[in-house]
Every structure is written in structure tokens, then in C-alpha cells.
Symmetry: C2
Subunit: 158 residues, 2 copies
């Protein structure tokens, strides 16, 4: 899997403001799957601050959310021993999102998120995700992802 | 308190992407304090979807985050029996954010968030927040807010 897992999402679902590859003005959060870990690199927009000089906490939550869902998706394809472009597509939504803000996250520079899928059980996948600015861990998240069938989703146009 | 609590934040801190009244392109999340409850009304942008027709979960997290901090701030002024423009300013940051997504949140229409400050103890305020679309509760959040002194914050320019 050399491309971000989001590029394998079913075409009509690539609309997410956070991670949809087809969203014209979204955040385009990307998850690379490397050695059993989801890696995301992201550089916040210069005006995406909470307090002066600090990244907006809501943005950190968005990054953890989409990247953890991406990590659960990649981990599930691996657990099922099949390629991410095989059918049926693995589709998750967020059930519960928890973010602990450990310290202020600097706005400048690149953030790196490292996520691991701790458990896949039935419809649930639990992902742990850490947010680093350089060597400094700034936030830690846990996301419980719920697996859907494609038919569970509304068929409306985006 | 007839104005949103965010309009009482110290001027140099009104820069938050989520709720800063001075942010030129932010979300401008607003908290009104009514009868011991924080009320927020918000209409998502038409392209802020997660899956087609559903509001982006990261946006829901942003709303809960900023509105809960606003609710903690208003509740603290009330608990201290003083006006929100009195000194020193009450300043909170988010310590922990938890969001349970109960069902898909429709993208169309107005969302209403109702938040209550469950406890203020020392530096910590704990807020519970529910997100409604019409009569339907779509998400539920809990935010542990940490109180800061103004001098705890970096003095950098936004």
C-alpha cells in the first residue's frame, strides 16, 4: 500500500471534509500504512490557531478522527489478508473519539500522527493515536470505529 | 450576559479558529448563557460533510470543544458571582475532549448544542454537551477544561 488509504475509499465516499481526496477545500488528511502503523503528516494552516502560536484543538481532534479511521481501515484489510482495492470495501465511521491534550501544540511546523489499531472485534476497531511536534508528544487520542456495510450509508449525492 | 461569552474573552485571545470573534475565516462558534445552560446554534457549511448528507464528525468535535469551554467560562463567572467583563478574565483550555457519535448528524439545517457545567473543582471544570438536530440527539460530549492564568499563555502575536 504505497498510496494513502483514503485514495482507496469508494469513489462516492471520498467527500469527507477531513480526509476526502475529492473535497475541493477540505483538510486532505492522509494515512500511510507502514509496518503495522498508520502515519499521517500534516502542516496546519498558519491561521488555524486556538490561542496565539498554538494549533487549534479542534483541528487536532479532526486529525486524530480521520487518521484513526484510516488506520482502522488499513489494519482491517491487512487482518483480512487482502488488498485495499479488493471488494467489498472496508468502511468505518467514528463511534467514540477521545482526545487528551497533553501540552500546547505548536502551530508552526509539521505534525506527525502515529496510530495503531489495538483491537478489531466484530464491528468495532479501537485505534490509539499520538500527535507529535518534532520529538514532543502533544496529544493522545483513542477512537472506537464502527464498521458499516456500504448499504448502511445514505445514497444521497454529496 | 446578553452577548456570546466569546465576545468577553480578552482581546488578544479572540483569535481561535473555532470561536474567536476576530478570526477572519473561522467557525465563529458562539455560546449564549441562558438559565444555567450554554446554548450554541450553528449551521454547518454545505460542504462540511463526512459521508454524503452527514455533517463531518470533526466539525461536531470542534463545536463541542469550543462551546464547552465557553460554557465553563460563563459558569465560572456565575459561580464567582461576577460579570464576564470583570478582572481577572476567566481563561480555560481543553484538557480532555470525548465525543460519542450517537447517530449520523444531518448536514442540512441548524444544530443546537446544550451544555451544562457539571463540576468546577480547583482548576478543572467538567462540561457535558449534547448536540441536537431538531428533536434528535446526534452526539454527546464531555470536556474537561483546565483553567489558566493569563501569564500561562505565550505572548506571541497571532
Amino acid at each position: 500500500m504505497n498510496r494513502p488509504i483514503q485514495t482507496y475509499y469508494p469513489p462516492h465516499l471520498r467527500v469527507c471534509f477531513g480526509c476526502g481526496t475529492d473535497h475541493p477545500r477540505g483538510l486532505h488528511i492522509q494515512t500511510l500504512w507502514q509496518d503495522g502503523q498508520g502515519i499521517c503528516r500534516f502542516r496546519p494552516a498558519p491561521d488555524c490557531h486556538g490561542y496565539p502560536g498554538m494549533a487549534y484543538g479542534g483541528l487536532i481532534a479532526c486529525l486524530i478522527d480521520c487518521h484513526s479511521v484510516g488506520t482502522a481501515t488499513a489494519a482491517t484489510y491487512e487482518a483480512e489478508d487482502r488488498a485495499p482495492d479488493s471488494a467489498p470495501p472496508v468502511i468505518y465511521v467514528t463511534g467514540t473519539l477521545t482526545v487528551r491534550y497533553l501540552r500546547p501544540t505548536p502551530l508552526e511546523g509539521e505534525l506527525v500522527l502515529r496510530a495503531r489499531c489495538r483491537e478489531i472485534r466484530g464491528r468495532k476497531a479501537t485505534v490509539e493515536c499520538a500527535v507529535f511536534a518534532g520529538e514532543m508528544e502533544c496529544a493522545r487520542g483513542e477512537v472506537v470505529c464502527l464498521r458499516l456495510q456500504e448499504t448502511d450509508l445514505p445514497q444521497t449525492d454529496a
